[in-house]
Symmetry: C2
Subunit: 359 residues, 2 copies
C-alpha cells in the first residue's frame, strides 16, 4: 500500500540479496523509518520489541530470521538454536510457531550446505503467499461490505480494533483489506479507528487510512460500545493472532469487550483470518499463553512534542504499578463469522474450511 504516494511493503529482501529490510513501526505514525536486519538475533529483537508486529508479519519476519540464522550457522545445532531464539520472541501469535515449525520440517532433512538457500526461498514464498492471502481476504470481505452498502444510504461504517492493516502483514492487511478492496470498487466506507491502548496501534491504522485517503475517526477504546448502542456502527472487523478450531479468537487486548457490545447491540462481528493464523491443533483458547508485556507500556506514552520530536511522557504517579496483558480471548459464540482466504464462513464451519486436527 501507499506511504506518501509511494507503494510499500512492510518487509522485503534487501538488494544485497541476504539482509532484510523492514519498516521500523516504533516511530509511526510520526516518522517513517526503514531498518536493515542482518542477523537472527536482530530479527528476534525486532519482533520482541515490536519494530515489526501483527501476526502475519511476525510469521514472515520469523521466516527471514531463520534464513539469516542458516546463513550464519546451518548446522543441526545452528538450526535448533535458531528455532529456539526466534521462537521465544513473542508467545501468543500462532504465525510465529507456524513459520518456525515449517522451516524446521523443511530444513532438518537437508544437508547444512543447502539450508540457507532453501530457507530464503521458503521465506520469499511465505511473503508472497501472505500478500495473496490478504488480497483474497480483501475480495471476500469487500463482498460483505458491498452487501451492507446495499442495505443503507450513506457510507458503511466499519469499526476496527488494533491494527490489522497492511502494516500488520506484508501488504493489504487482514481486517483492513476488505476496506481497501471495497474502496477500489467505489463503495463508500468510513472507519472508526480504536486507539488500542496501551501500544496505540490504532494510530498505525490511522496512518494507513490517511495515506490511502480513507475517511476515518479515531476514538478511545472506551467509545466503541457507545457508538454501537447509538447505531453508528454497521460492522466490526478485527484481525486475530490465533484462532482455534472451534472459532475462539485470540486477538489484541480489548477485542472481547467489543465483541460483547456487538453481540448485545446486534452489530455483526467479523474476524479476518488467514490460514496462517488458524491453530488446527487447539480447540479451546483458554490454553493459549497470553503475553504479559512490560508495565512501562501502560505507565508511559510517546507522542510528538510541540518541538516536533518524539517524546515519552510518564502518565502515572511515581510508584504506581501496572499490569499489561497484550491479548484476550473472544469466544466463538460472540463471533458472526470469519473472512477467510476461501470465503466467508461461520465459527462452526471453520474446521471444514481450514482443516481439523494437527496442522
Amino acid at each position: 500500500m501507499r506511504v506518501s504516494g509511494v507503494s510499500r511493503r512492510t518487509i522485503a529482501l534487501s538488494l544485497d540479496g541476504w539482509s532484510v529490510e523492514v519498516i521500523d513501526q516504533r516511530f509511526l505514525p510520526h516518522r517513517f523509518v526503514l531498518e536493515r536486519l542482518e542477523s537472527a538475533e536482530q530479527v528476534m529483537r525486532a519482533i520482541a520489541e515490536m519494530h515489526v508486529r501483527g501476526a502475519p508479519l511476525i510469521g514472515v519476519a520469523a521466516a527471514y530470521g531463520m534464513s539469516l540464522a542458516m546463513r550464519e550457522d546451518p548446522s543441526d545445532e545452528g538450526l535448533r538454536a535458531a528455532c529456539e531464539l526466534i521462537g521465544r520472541s513473542r508467545p501468543t501469535a500462532i504465525n510465529l510457531r507456524w513459520a518456525i515449525d515449517g522451516m524446521r520440517k523443511l530444513l532438518e532433512p537437508q544437508p547444512p550446505s543447502r539450508r540457507a538457500e532453501l530457507a530464503y526461498s521458503r521465506a520469499a514464498e511465505l511473503c508472497e503467499a501472505d500478500v495473496v492471502a490478504c488480497r483474497q481476504i480483501g475480495e471476500h470481505g469487500a463482498l460483505l461490505l458491498s452487501r451492507l452498502a446495499a442495505e443503507r444510504r450513506g457510507p458503511v461504517r466499519v469499526l476496527t480494533h488494533c491494527n490489522a492493516g497492511w502494516l500488520a502483514t506484508v501488504d493489504w492487511g487482514t481486517a483492513l483489506a476488505p476496506v481497501y478492496v471495497a474502496r477500489e470498487r467505489g463503495i463508500d466506507i468510513e472507519v472508526w479507528v480504536e486507539e488500542t491502548r496501551p501500544r496505540n496501534q490504532g494510530l498505525l491504522t490511522s496512518f494507513e487510512l490517511t495515506h490511502e485517503g480513507v475517511p476515518h475517526r479515531l476514538v478511545a477504546d472506551n467509545a466503541g460500545g457507545h457508538l454501537m448502542q447509538r447505531g453508528e456502527v454497521d460492522v466490526c472487523i478485527v484481525g486475530t493472532d490465533r484462532t482455534t478450531s472451534q472459532g475462539d479468537v485470540v486477538n489484541k487486548i480489548g477485542t472481547y469487550l467489543k465483541a460483547l457490545a456487538a453481540h448485545d447491540t446486534g452489530v455483526p462481528f467479523w474476524v479476518a483470518l488467514p490460514r496462517s493464523s488458524y491453530d488446527a491443533a487447539l480447540a479451546d483458547a483458554a490454553a493459549v499463553v497470553i503475553e504479559e508485556r512490560d508495565e512501562s507500556e501502560v505507565l508511559e506514552v510517546s507522542g510528538r512534542s510541540t518541538r516536533g520530536e518524539i517524546e515519552t511522557v510518564r502518565l502515572a504517579p511515581d510508584g504506581t504499578r501496572a499490569r499489561n496483558p497484550a491479548f484476550d480471548v473472544t469466544p466463538a459464540r460472540l463471533i458472526t463469522g470469519f473472512i477467510t482466504e476461501r470465503g466467508l464462513t461461520t465459527p462452526s464451519e471453520l474446521e471444514a474450511v481450514y482443516g481439523a486436527g494437527r496442522a
Copy 2:
C-alpha cells in the same frame, strides 16, 4: 482524605468567607495545585474545563457558583442569568441541574438582599450533606466487601473505572468510599484501576490510592474484560453521573463495556449512587444528552517529561479527526445492584429507596 499525609477536601469556602478554593485537578497526578474561584464565570469555566469533575463535586461547585453569582448580582435577572450560565457548563451529570434547580427554588421567593447569604448557607449544607452521603455509601459498600472477603483467601480484588473517589466528591468518594471504609476495618483490598481514556481519570484514582496506601495496579481500559475472564476480579464498583428511576446508569464512557464483561463472566457489578445523582424524573436513559467533548482530548495526551515538566504530546498523525463522547449508558439489566446512602439495593427496588416521579 489525605494528600502527602495532610487531610484535604476538594472544595471549601476560603478564609475570606466568600471566595471558593478547589483542587485544580488538571495538574494531577503530577502536581497538586489549589485554585481560588472568585466569580460565577470562573466556576462555570472550572466545571466545563474540568478543573473540578465528578458528578457530586460538580453539584457542590455549582452551588458555590450560584452563591458567588448572588454576591455579584442578586436581582431576579441575576438569578436567572446565573442558572443559565452555570447550567450550560456540562450537560450530562444530573447533580448540576439538581443543585441549580434547588437553589432557584430556594432563592426565587426571597428578596434579593437575602439571596447571597441563603445561597452560601445552602452551598455549605450541600457540601456537608455530600460528605455524609459518601461516608454512608462507604459504610454500606464496606459490608459488601467484607462479605466478599469472607468468601475467599487473599485480598478482595475490586475493579473500578474512571475516578469516583474523593476527588470526584467533596470527600470519601462514591465508588471508592467502600474501599476506604473497608480498609479502616482491616479488610484486605486490591484495586484494578482502569486508565479511563481519553482523560485518564484512572490516574486520579491511582493518585488517591497511592496517598491512602491502598494496593492497586493500573491497567488499560482494554484489559478489564480479560481480567474478569481469568477470574482476577471479585467485584466491579463504579460511580454514576446520572441514574434513572429504572436503574439505567449514565457513567464515564466505557462503563457499559465493563458491565457487559462482568455480566458475561459472573462478576458482580455495583454502582455507588448518592441521592444527588438519581434522576427520578427519567426512566429510560436513552433520552440523556451524552456530552461530546473536544477532539484534542483523544488526539493529544499530557504527562510528565523526563525534565519533570508537564508536557502535551500529539498521539495521532496530522489531519486525523476524532470523536469524543464522554459518557455511555449501562442498562439496568447488566447491574447487580446499587450502593446507596440508605443501603444496598437492586435496580428494581431503586424507586422504592430514592423515590419516584418528579424529584
